[in-house]
């Protein structure tokens, strides 16, 4: 059964029209935001005037990517419970940001993560290191999202091998998708800055959560709102029975007769879990959102909004994933996409069709497709802002110009940087379009957890911490995660690795480096600190007073 291919003619056109309409709204918002972006505070931090609910919606939008929506729903649809395990790590992680990072970051920094890291250190080397790590995380994450977006456009338009739509075959549609997403995200950032982009993200959060909510209610409605019946159907349809509702089909797989591989698989699950929970509070595009509110108290409230939205959303993906397993079925999902990324859109079409005929099926497909694009676009644009702010504020102004550049020059450079990052991301994504880059999301989280979070926490809480410690910590965590991934089975030596089975340089047995790279990053930071005599207790005193009381913190700007 080939559901999406049946959505020819009117269905595809409807999907395109609804998708283009939501994009048109966001471009309108961006042009409006452009009029209010003058100072560096406007560009990097949206003027710091956003309220708790506004920033909360934008946080949710930044965070909920294609990986969290299509990826988790698809993993649940194909492997059952293990997809849910992923979303739990993604959600619990917000407590690290809430309890340990957000308020103190808001009180001590201005625009970037490096502001806090370099507060009591030598500026230029620490800012350089922080910019390198920010760019690495952003590029890995961007690449995964954009390659996914390309594949998604071809799939959502239902273009199969040998078919064309609007004169595009599947391969062309992929490239067009990548270029389109790249252009739109660059436009959001270069034109709208943080202010325009935040409003775009608020709108996109509504599209995403609204679309998912409507579909969730329709799925639950089919089961008379009895979740147990839905679970039973999903387990039966999967052919796995009760195992489908238990952990172990996707992560930490037990290989019969191979105790060593089983051990590594289970440690890999632990490694993934730890990187998910510690990575979020080190993601640069998440961190800079805390600068867009007037003070630390609003930052705290905005995370509560974010946690509520993200938590509710993941509960919906649980229903959508099991719903797709029960209603669409394994065969139909894997026929469209082996990784299951089209499970949610396929579910939308079938359930819509069951409730209100083929027209409602097409409408629901269009709604969920728009929600998926909103998820992708809001995440990539957040990453472009984070990396262009870091390039302009940390590398250009603080390192190259030694803090002498004017605000105008810094904002001008940031806009240019966003265009540069957009071009680099498009080119890399086109080169990588047929590679298996799904592991890059995990890598981004591993780098954030190994390089960024330890140094951030040590600089906020450890008096002795110094420049050498920050440099060792960032570079150590970054190099450790990268090296381990290059020599892991996701990179070479396995059937579905990046370089394929032909090349085999793998010696690290786990796909997720976190279990080793996070302690290693922390160890590097501590050793680096103790091997240097530098220590400034006066600056640490200032940092702590600022962090806890908000004295001397950056204020909101009024226009």
């Amino acid at each position: 059964m080939d559901i999406l291919a049946q959505a020819e003619g009117s269905g595809r056109t409807l999907t395109m029209v609804l998708f283009l309409a939501t994009v048109a709204v966001t471009i309108g918002i961006t042009i409006w935001g452009h009029r209010y972006t003058r100072t560096a505070t406007d560009f990097h931090s949206g003027g710091r005037g956003f309220s708790a609910w506004q920033n909360g919606f934008a946080i949710a939008s930044d965070y909920m990517s294609a990986a969290s929506f299509l990826g988790i729903a698809g993993t649940i649809a194909l492997f059952g419970y293990d997809g849910f395990l992923y979303s739990i790590g993604f959600l619990v992680a917000w407590l690290v940001a809430l309890l340990l990072v957000a308020e103190m970051l808001r009180n001590t920094g201005r625009f970037t993560m490096a502001d806090v890291l370099s507060f009591r250190m030598r500026q230029r080397p620490v800012r350089t290191a922080a910019a390198v790590s920010t760019l690495s995380v952003s590029i890995f994450y961007l690449l995964a999202q954009m390659v996914g977006a390309g594949a998604l456009i071809a799939l959502l338009l239902g273009i199969k091998e040998g078919e064309t739509f609007l004169g595009m075959d599947a391969a062309t549609a992929k490239i067009v998708g990548i270029v389109f997403v790249g252009l739109i995200m660059t436009l959001y950032v270069a034109l709208g800055g943080m202010k325009g982009n935040t409003w775009v993200q608020i709108f996109q959060a509504c599209v995403l959560v609204g679309g998912a909510a409507v579909l969730t209610i329709m799925v639950l409605g089919q089961y008379g709102f009895n979740v147990s019946n839905l679970l039973e159907d999903a387990a039966t349809a999967s052919g796995q029975g009760a195992a489908f509702l238990e952990p172990g089909l996707r992560y930490g797989v037990e290989v019969p007769g191979d105790a060593v591989q089983t051990m590594w698989n289970k440690l890999d699950l632990l490694s993934l879990g730890i990187a998910l929970v510690l990575g979020t509070a080190g993601l640069p595009h998440v961190l800079i959102r805390f600068y867009t509110v007037p003070d630390a108290r609003v930052a705290r409230k905005s995370i509560n909004w974010g946690i509520g939205l993200i938590g509710a959303f993941y509960l919906m993906t649980l229903v959508l994933g099991f719903g797709a397993a029960a209603i669409v079925g394994y065969e139909a999902i894997t026929a469209q996409d082996k990784a299951g990324n089209t499970a949610a859109p396929q579910l939308a079409e079938v359930v819509g069709g069951d409730v209100g005929g083929s027209t409602l099926g097409s409408v629901m497909l269009a709604v969920i497709a728009s929600a998926a694009f909103a998820a992708i676009l809001s995440t990539v644009s957040g990453l472009v802002i984070a990396s262009s702010s870091s390039l302009a504020h940390d590398l250009y102004n603080s390192v190259l110009r030694r803090g002498q550049a004017s605000e105008r020059q810094e904002v001008g450079f940031a806009k240019l940087a966003s265009i540069g990052i957009g071009v680099v991301a498009i080119v890399l994504a086109i080169f990588a379009q047929n590679l298996n880059v799904a592991f890059l999301v995990g890598l981004a989280f591993a780098v954030a957890a190994s390089a960024n979070l330890p140094t951030l926490l040590l600089s906020l809480f450890w008096k002795r911490f110094n420049t050498s410690g920050a440099l060792w910590g960032i570079y150590g965590g970054l190099i450790a995660s990268l090296t381990l991934v290059v020599f892991s089975p996701v990179f070479s030596g396995a059937e579905n690795s990046l370089l394929g089975e032909g090349v085999d340089i793998a010696w690290f047995p786990m796909s997720n480096p976190g279990l080793v790279s996070i302690p290693l990053g922390l160890l590097c930071a501590v050793v680096g600190t103790l091997t240097s005599d530098e220590s400034d207790s006066e600056k640490f005193a200032t940092l702590q007073v600022r962090a806890l009381t908000g004295a001397g913190s950056e204020r909101a700007v009024n226009h």
């Binding site: 679970l231 699950l269 879990g273 730890i274 929970v277 003070d295 509560n304 007073v545 009381t549 004295a551």
Partner: protein, 118 residues
Amino acid sequence: MTTSPDADGPPPEVSEADIAAMHDDPRFAELKRTLFRFIVPATFGFLAWYLLYVLLSAYARDFMGTVVFGNVNVALLLGLGQFLSTFGIAWGYSRYASRNFDPKAIELHDAVHYGEDR
């Protein structure tokens, strides 16, 4: 609460030395204790609870597969428990901070910026 930024405009600028001086104030030590009293146990608590959940998912699959009612098993309930505990800790922290931490933090912020007489 003695200031509202909207009504009074931004507070007067202060030097780094003025800010650092507050560090030795006993009230600052008390402020720090108030914060750490919540965030330290809460952080260790939720990390341990999450780690326990992941360890059970990896090594106690028979237990996780125990059916509690209908088709709902322990794994699903523990997973939903992680959601509930996350919501609960976030809510509890906000309540604790706005009652116990914020008034003290605002008092010290104003003491740094406006001096003690306000």
